[in-house]
């Protein structure tokens, strides 16, 4: 556990979360849609969880929160369900180039099925700008989606500014806020978004549960049809224990954020500084503007990311890379390419993400083991000296 440095991928479920979930597996197991007592009890618990999540994200009404199977489903519904109601005859969409695939692949699919798609590129500083979105808006733009913060480089975007220009064009605004939830100031009403996606397992809650924020009054033709649960917007018996766990996880994140955020920022910066000072030809991928407190994005030149990841894994450290080889594709991370990182550099990306149980000693130990790993791999490279040493 102590050597886990991939909290942006997923997190362990907090014991305090498990504790509140447990009764809902076999004691309070009722179907929240049943009329008798154990059903009603489950219903009340589910609705209390909804209220907690609604308050936590700044929704004006609990009814604006739809529990889903996770962030991916919320992203899919923000497009499919909303567009079926808003734009049955197609139209124009804008998404940013570095969206999660749960948004990108959906937008690409829609572009082949009656919609036109424009891609707004983030700038080199890692952020998406409202004025760049504004240039792409058209009279027939129906929906714009820009993530609140990016999962690979940690850039936090000014979604309120983007939502304002989007609404000026009479389009809807969606934001994937999966990485931001509980980590940075986030209030959907103040952001002015129409839809937002959230996930539980990034905040020490269980996997398989998330939420879609759907502003009241936005038309919605449910993607998942059936028994009409979630006020007919998401059928299927609710994941009661999951929703309760999610709500508790969010409550804890928000209660502890004020003390936790500065601690994580210090760890993040210690990792960035440790690596870039101890290893030549390394840099932070982005270093300007608002960034998530927990993600340290690094570029290690002259090394391939997967080989770094595997050697770190040998020593018990879990990290991520945007190298092509790690994903099984031929191209390195679309996120890194979108912010102008050259392909040959992107292969050497490393994402360290810290969390609730990361200590300063973990970071120091990580830097200590990374240095010889990188040196060894560079020594094994036929081109490192040619490319990077004069």
């Amino acid at each position: 556990m102590t050597k886990y440095l991939d909290y942006a991928a997923t997190t362990p479920v907090d014991e305090r979360v498990i504790e509140v979930m447990l009764p809902y597996f076999n004691q309070e197991f009722g179907n929240p849609n049943s009329l008798y007592k154990i059903g009603r009890d489950a219903f009340h618990a589910l609705e209390a969880a909804r209220e907690t999540v609604a308050t936590g994200i700044g929704a004006e009404r609990p009814g604006e929160v739809i529990f889903t199977s996770g962030g991916t489903e919320a992203d899919n519904e923000s497009f499919f369900s909303v567009l079926r109601a808003k734009a049955p005859n197609g139209g124009h969409l804008i998404v940013s180039a570095y969206e999660h695939h749960a948004v990108l692949r959906v937008a690409e699919w829609l572009a082949k099925h009656g919609f036109e798609l424009s891609i707004v590129k983030p700038r080199k500083d890692g952020h998406v700008y409202a004025e760049d979105v504004a240039k792409l808006l058209r009279e027939d733009t129906k929906l714009v989606s820009v993530m609140h913060s990016n999962n690979e480089i940690g850039a936090v975007n000014d979604i309120a500014a983007i939502a304002e220009v989007v609404h000026g064009a009479d389009a809807l605004m969606h934001t994937d806020a999966v990485q931001s939830l509980g980590k940075v100031e986030l209030n959907v009403a103040r952001l002015g978004v129409d839809m937002a996606s959230f996930s539980s397992h990034k905040i020490y809650g269980p996997k398989g549960v998330g939420a879609l924020y759907l502003k009241r009054g936005i038309g919605f033709d449910a993607l998942i049809k059936g028994g009409g649960q979630e006020t007919r917007r998401r059928s299927g018996t609710q994941n009661v224990a999951g929703a309760i766990g999610f709500a508790k996880a969010l409550e804890l994140m928000l209660a502890e954020r004020e003390t936790e955020a500065p601690r994580l920022i210090a760890l993040r910066d210690r990792a960035l500084e440790g690596v870039t000072t101890r290893l030549e030809n390394t840099l932070a991928t982005i270093h300007e503007g608002e960034r998530l407190p927990n993600i340290a994005p690094l570029l290690i030149k002259g090394v391939e990311g997967e080989s770094m990841l595997l050697q770190l894994d040998n020593l018990g450290f879990s990290v991520s890379t945007g190298s092509a080889c790690s994903s099984g594709s031929l191209e390195p991370s679309h996120v890194l390419l979108s912010v102008g990182v050259a392909q040959e550099i992107a292969h050497g990306s490393l994402r360290i993400s810290v969390g609730r149980w990361t200590t300063q000693a973990d970071i120091d130990e990580f830097v200590d083991v990374l240095v010889p790993i990188v040196e060894r791999l560079r020594a094994m490279s036929p081109v490192y000296e040619k490319m990077f040493c004069s």
Partner: protein, 150 residues
């Protein structure tokens, strides 16, 4: 995508890393944009037997492990036999490779062919036919026809 134990062994303890300073043949393939580059140097006896082979590789676990395996496989082989070692042979020796790795990460068989041709050229002999393409700076390993899946 999970590597076999044998791949991990060759990745963690690569055999024959380095450069033979008085090499008889040398080959470098791949390019940094793809993320994988491999250089192999060979020492060849008068009877065309490969006496020694060393490699340097920038690349993923599969690229390093296959490089290591190729240097092991070619030692003691005649050059004519060594160049016939296919990507599939290397993958089999490593107890298989993930499908995505077959395309771009098995550079060493190409590198060896370039090194052998380099050796033949130095001795005024005809290169082995059809194997020099990977020495072309525009060579794209992704276009390779060896697309067997594992």
């Amino acid at each position: 995508m999970i590597y076999s134990e044998k791949v991990m062994d060759h990745f963690n303890n690569p055999r024959n890393v380095g450069v033979i300073s008085d090499a008889d043949g040398s080959g470098e393939v791949g390019n940094p944009v793809c993320g994988d580059i491999m250089k192999i140097t060979i020492k060849v006896n008068d009877d065309d037997t490969i006496a020694d082979a060393k490699f340097q590789t920038l690349g993923c676990g599969a690229a390093i492990a296959t490089s290591s395996m190729v240097t092991e496989l070619v030692k003691g082989k005649k050059i004519q036999d060594a160049v016939r070692i296919s990507k599939r042979d290397v993958a089999d020796e490593l107890d298989g490779l993930p499908a995505a790795k077959m395309h771009c990460s098995v550079l060493a068989t190409d590198g060896l062919k370039v090194a052998v041709d380099d050796y033949l050229k130095k001795h005024g002999r005809e290169p082995l036919s059809g194997v020099i393409k990977s020495a072309d700076p525009n060579y794209n390993p992704h276009e390779d026809e060896d697309e067997e899946e594992d």
